[in-house]
């Protein structure tokens, strides 16, 4: 779903200010050339699967049975315990899939429909979906043991991420078994289940923080490139400052010093902080492009025609200068995921098990013990996701501007 969004952005942006047919051709050409590369196809496939896993995590890993009959009553505890965000994600996913198959509809219309559906779903879900606050996971296992459950359907992974198996003694840090395919964590929770839910965080951090960085970078870079002169000089100093600071240290101090207590707010602030510290490259590219473009005929023409500044900047110059930004952005997503996992690994980012990096942190026990399953699976997940984004980024770059890389 999400990477489709990126593609359509390119299309939407490159469309503006050019004859429709030619641009369609370019857009299709780029996509086609990206898809022609096997490596990029693999990368996109991995990302799409991750999106699917993230959206359907509750239907893949859950202690609550999908359907069960107990005491003569058939119920679905799983649906009952879905959170509003679970519901919104599923609705958004299906809307996107349906829209994808409507080839005839214009992209802008699709985007509007998508946003409307998303808003409506969020509001209704937020108002109506109320999962029980008190959850006792072990009750199902107790009931089964007591023979109270007549029949039940479970999802493939039979453990919720915060099911700490209080009914089982000594369930912590156990190597993979038939019950726990990827083993258990330091909190006796199922590793696979935790990883599935952590997919959501990895993906959203990547996109949102890169989005923030792109917006800031394009804005500052655009201003610098358009005005040049004193603003450019000041802007370049700002760019240099952010370029020179050891970024990880800055992010570390941001997060460590402004650590909100609420995990949800913490997640957003980590996103914002990664975004706030990684806009420099985008600003740099946009500025360079703008400096080149501002002397070109079509900008002169637009100015002569008396178009307002904003319109020149964003309608005419931006689409022409955006290409390198988009290429960098797909590498940026990979970078953001790396930074988040590093933060969590160092124990400064997201709390414990909600992130792949935090899970990886548990791999090296203090007793010199090494829990290989915790090292291999979450680490592999980070690596593959970063790799996938880099593959896609490289394919984009090859398609759009093969020479760009050698002059970083």
């Amino acid at each position: 779903m999400t990477e489709i969004g990126v593609n359509s952005n390119i299309a939407a942006d490159t469309t503006a200010g050019r004859p429709d047919v030619a641009v369609k051709a370019l857009y299709q050409q780029v996509l086609a050339s990206v898809f022609r590369q096997g490596s990029a196809r693999t990368g996109i496939f991995w990302i799409v699967s991750l999106v699917a896993l993230a959206v359907f995590a509750p239907f893949l890993a859950n202690t609550h049975p999908l359907l069960m009959k107990r005491g003569g009553v058939v119920s679905s505890p799983l649906l009952r315990h879905l959170t509003p965000s679970d519901v919104i994600l599923v609705v958004a996913f299906f809307t996107a899939v349906v829209l994808w198959f409507f080839k005839r509809v214009r992209l802008t219309v699709k985007a509007i429909i998508f946003v409307v559906v998303l808003v409506v779903a969020s509001v209704t879900a937020g108002m109506t979906v109320r999962p029980p606050e008190v959850v006792v996971y072990e009750q199902y296992r107790n009931w089964t043991q007591a023979g109270e459950i007549e029949w039940a359907w479970y999802v493939p992974v039979r453990y919720s991420p915060d099911d700490h198996q209080r009914d089982v003694e000594d369930a912590r840090l156990k190597a993979p078994t038939g019950m726990h395919w990827f083993g258990t964590t330091a909190d006796a929770a199922d590793l696979l289940s935790n990883m599935l839910y952590a997919t959501r965080i990895a993906l959203s951090i990547g996109f949102i923080s890169t989005g923030i960085a792109v917006v800031i970078g394009v804005f500052i870079g655009g201003l610098m490139g358009y005005y040049s002169g004193i603003i450019d000089l000041l802007g370049m100093r700002l760019v240099e400052i952010f370029d020179a600071i050891p970024t990880l240290l800055l992010i570390l101090s941001f997060v460590a010093f402004f650590r909100p207590n609420d995990p949800a707010i913490l997640l957003y602030s980590v996103m914002a902080i990664i975004g706030l510290t990684s806009w420099v490259q985008y600003a740099y590219f946009v500025r360079a492009e703008f400096l080149k473009l501002r002397e070109q005929d079509f900008v002169h023409a637009a100015r002569a025609a008396g178009l307002p500044l904003r319109s020149i900047l964003f309608k005419h110059m931006l689409p022409n200068g955006i290409t390198p930004v988009l290429i960098t952005a797909s590498f940026g997503v990979a970078g953001a995921i790396l930074i988040e996992s590093t933060l969590s690994f160092l124990g400064i980012g997201l709390p414990g098990e909600s992130s792949w990096g935090g899970l990886l942190n548990q791999a090296l026990g203090v007793g010199g013990s090494f829990y290989w399953w915790i090292a291999i699976y979450p680490g592999l997940a980070i690596f593959l996701t970063v790799y996938a984004y880099n593959l896609v980024g490289e394919a984009f770059r090859d398609a759009l501007d093969p020479k760009l890389y050698s002059f970083r």
């Binding site: 490596s39 100093r237 700002l238 240099e240 400052i241 370029d243 020179a244 600071i245 050891p246 970024t247 990880l248 240290l249 800055l250 570390l252 101090s253 941001f254 460590a256 010093f257 402004f258 990979a334 790396l338 996992s341 590093t342 690994f345 160092l346 400064i348 990096g357 990886l360 791999a363 090296l364 010199g368 013990s369 090494f370 290989w372 090292a375 291999i376 680490g379 592999l380 980070i382 690596f383 970063v386 790799y387 880099n390 593959l391 490289e394 890389y405 050698s406 970083r408």
Partner: protein
Amino acid sequence: MLTYITRRILLIFPTLLGMTALVFFVMGMAPGGIGGTMLDRFGNLKSEEAARVREYYQKRYGLDQPLIVQYGRWLNNISPVGTEEREDGTKRFGVKWPSLGESLEQHRPVSELMAERLPITLLLNFISLPLVYAIGVGSGVIAARHRGGWFDRITSTTQLAMWSLPTIWVGVMMIGFLANREYVKWFPTAGMHDMEAGNMLFLPSHDAAGWHLGYVLDGLWHIALPVVCLSLGSSAYLMKLTRGSMLENMGADYSRTARAKGLPERVVIYRHVFRNSLLALITQAATILPAMIGGAVVVESIFSIPGMGQLGVQAVQARDREVVLAVALVGGLIGLLSQLIRDILYAMADPRVSYD
């Protein structure tokens, strides 16, 4: 040229000023304040007693003053010209020895801490850098020379993977599998030296008891894994760069001329193409070095190497403002200086590049 260099050097100062101001105010405005752990590590003191101790230290380090005053004071401390307090409490203005202040957590001069930690980080990096170049340039040249061959195909798929490898994962896996009694215990898990390194001979030696590693090899053995961890990404980057630059130069007019002269391909590549690519590659050190020093933060934390990066992470966790500032300052300075050197090298080596 001289004006260019002067201008570049002068521009470093506002950048450094902005950078430290940013770090300073980020920390200063945080809820909970600076020097958190130092100020709150009072065990079971009664709260009012703890408050008294806290007040003492706040005064001692000037933390009770407005932020802007504190920043001004810090700037005055690090500048070689400024006011200085004498032993007897009087102040004088003039040239003085710049000071990085005192660690809030460890109560020691930050310059001393940096003098201990920085060499270790630099050592790590200066061992990694040649390795990065050997691997990156070497494999890049081979890949370009046999373009489309098996080596080229393998490396072009693996280099991106290498570049994508998360350092934290590589580090954890290395410690877990290569420095673990359960698997293979080829490497030590942590630190810079063995316990008994102080009593070791300097070079490897042999006596009745068998071979002894010696001080130098012991150190190398300890930092082998961290160095590999640190070099992976950069080597991949450099390799890609080498290959691209070589290919570009191989297609250039002068190499076609050289070939037309009848020079053997080997000579064309190593004498002409490689030479022309080399400068661009060497100046890349200015990009790679700061990146690696940033990467050292992670590597040092994983392998418990007492370098600057680890100092930085610990200082951030302890909210030790002066140390965080110093690490940011030194890290930033290294980055800026290497950029400066790169640009000057460019200007000197390539007459086509003009700077006014």
